[in-house]
């Protein structure tokens, strides 16, 4: 519309181009809004009901004993007993997994984004990372079982479990880090190069810190994912009721396998322990997520 015709136009009356939105548009707006709320509610139902059930069943055994004792010498029918050995096991296994997987994954992502961009090798790696993302977790467990335990000859251990979890963790962290590195504006890299800063220092001190909050979030999601894995651990850490603080020697427990073990027992006391184990696992993951949020906020780039 040109200026002169606008000036000549009569003041907007009802039904004119500048009038209220049509009834049809209002109805569509309402309908879509309703659909969005409905979808949200539907998505919340399983989430809330899982939390509700786990909290409801798990609270009865959420006592100090649960955190102080293992299941050593405690039978399925007995009351008492705890998941101390399983909590220790899970924390150690996931810590080892993180220590191995995060550096490998972050460096892979750095290669893919900063050095290899578009090269044949980078595309190949990218393809296999995608393939790895789709590996069923039990296959990772079988792989470690076949290679580390059967072929090389090591015994069941927390470390073997960590190796299986590493295979599952690497691809998710690579993907998350890659996306975050791509978001770092190339302006910043150029600004750093223009100061005569070598590429590796630019990556370490400009690119990675800028991407850090996102990378941390990605790592936390991956940690949460592997913390709940059961199948690969059954094949690699085996099952034990006793405390084993050494992740490099002998079978170790973990929360998922503890839950699996206890839930398989028909006695109510065991089933209660399984629920509480699930509650504790959810609690630990939530705590980690919270911690990561806090750290990420601390490093969040200001402005922009």
């Amino acid at each position: 519309m040109t200026a002169p015709s606008l000036a000549k136009a009569p003041p907007p009356a009802r039904g004119s181009a500048l009038g209220a939105p049509s009834a049809r548009r209002k109805i569509t707006d309402r309908a879509v809004q309703g659909l969005v709320y409905l979808a949200f509610a539907l998505a919340m139902i399983p989430l809330v009901s899982v939390l509700w059930t786990v909290v409801g069943h798990g609270l009865s055994r959420l006592d100090p004993t649960f955190f102080q004792f293992s299941m050593n010498g405690v039978g399925g029918k007995d009351a008492g007993g705890g998941a101390y050995h399983a909590i220790i096991g899970t924390l150690e296994q996931v810590a080892i997994t993180t220590v191995i997987a995060v550096p490998i994954a972050v460096l892979t992502a750095v290669y893919l984004v900063e050095y290899g961009a578009g090269s044949r090798l980078a595309r190949t790696i990218s393809f296999f990372v995608d393939v790895m993302t789709g590996i069923p977790s039990i296959v990772a467990g079988l792989f470690v079982l076949a290679l580390w335990l059967l072929a090389v000859g090591f015994g069941f251990s927390g470390f073997a479990g960590a190796l299986a979890l590493t295979i599952l963790m690497i691809p998710t962290v690579v993907r998350a880090t890659e996306e975050m590195l791509k978001l770092v504006p190339s302006d910043l890299r150029e600004a750093s190069y223009a100061l005569g800063v070598p590429r590796w220092r630019t990556i370490c001190f400009v690119v990675l810190p800028t991407a850090l909050p996102g990378v941390l979030t990605g790592v936390m999601l991956a940690v949460a994912r592997v913390m709940g894995e059961t199948a690969p651990l059954l094949l690699t850490i085996f099952v034990t009721k006793a405390i084993n603080t050494n992740p490099f020697d002998g079978p170790q427990a973990s929360l998922p396998t503890f839950i699996w073990d206890q839930a398989a027992d028909p006695n109510q006391n065991s089933i209660d322990r399984a629920w509480t184990g699930a509650l504790v696992l959810i609690g630990i993951i939530m705590l980690f997520n919270l911690a990561a949020r806090l750290v990420a906020r601390r490093f969040k780039p200001a402005g922009r």
């Binding site: 302006d187 190069y193 100061l195 005569g196 800028t210 200001a302």
Partner: protein, 258 residues
């Protein structure tokens, strides 16, 4: 500190695309040289060949010679990282490091190149911020994030960051195009001050700015889409703006162009 730049027979390419063709010129020390010309004529590309930033882009390469006081920047023995330390650059969009404070932004070039010592860094940071006419505005909040400053202040912060590593030459790629007139004036005053110490090359789309700040002006043009950019002429700014040798320059400056 300031050094002379002599360019001879310079061609630049992006992969298979010939971006600029056969450029030769001399840029005098302690003076401001402005590059003007239509968009896409290769001014920025040429500017980026002067500190080997051009080759940062995958597939981009350069042929020809750029002498910085008789030393060829493109000699095989020369480290591009060292070149960029002596030829600093300020970009079109202010780009302070978002994770760093004002202080750390200015000190970034030094810290990342391994300069240590708090008192020495303090001195250089203050000196650079004063050099960039920013000290009085930020001296009480050096620990605050650099990205929290206004656009004009951010650009001066970027200039402070560039001069903190004490380069011999300062390249500016349309440093005011994202700024309001007041901030532009602040930057232009700063350029006038900095030229006593540095060799300054500035790319600008603003003809008045070129006329105001520069001693010499180079006009670049392009024969048509897909053709490489060329240097049409370079001369004293007063001559380019009043009595240029080439008709195309006059057409461009007077606005009769395309």
């Amino acid at each position: 500190m300031a050094k002379r730049i002599e360019v001879s027979g310079l061609h630049a390419y992006y992969g298979g695309v010939h971006a600029i063709e056969d450029i030769s010129m001399t840029i005098e020390p302690r003076s401001v040289t402005a590059f003007i010309g239509p968009s896409g004529c290769g001014k920025s590309t040429f500017l980026r060949t002067l500190n080997r930033m051009h080759e940062v882009i995958p597939g981009a390469y350069v042929e020809g010679k750029v002498l910085l006081d008789d030393e060829d920047l493109y000699a095989s023995s020369v480290d591009p990282v060292a070149v960029r330390r002596s030829v600093g650059m300020v970009f079109q969009r202010p780009n302070p490091f978002p994770t760093m404070s004002i202080y750390d932004n200015v000190a970034a070039g030094l810290k990342l190149n391994g300069v240590r010592g708090k008192s020495r860094l303090d001195d250089i940071v203050e000196e650079s911020l004063q050099g960039a006419n920013l000290w009085n505005e930020v001296k009480d909040r050096l620990g605050k994030p650099g990205a929290g400053l206004s656009g004009g202040q951010q650009q001066r912060l970027c200039i402070a960051r560039a001069i903190a590593v004490q380069p011999q030459v300062l390249l500016m790629d349309e440093p005011c195009s994202a700024l309001d007139p007041i901030s532009t004036l602040a930057i232009e005053d700063l350029i006038a001050k900095l030229k006593n110490q540095y060799t300054i090359v500035i790319v600008t789309h603003n003809m008045q700015q070129a006329a105001r700040v520069s001693d010499r002006t180079a006009f670049f043009n392009i024969a048509g889409t897909g053709k490489p950019g060329k240097l049409i002429e370079i001369d004293d700014t007063s001559k380019i703006f009043t009595n240029p040798e080439v008709k195309a320059t006059e057409d461009y400056i007077t606005g009769r162009f395309g």
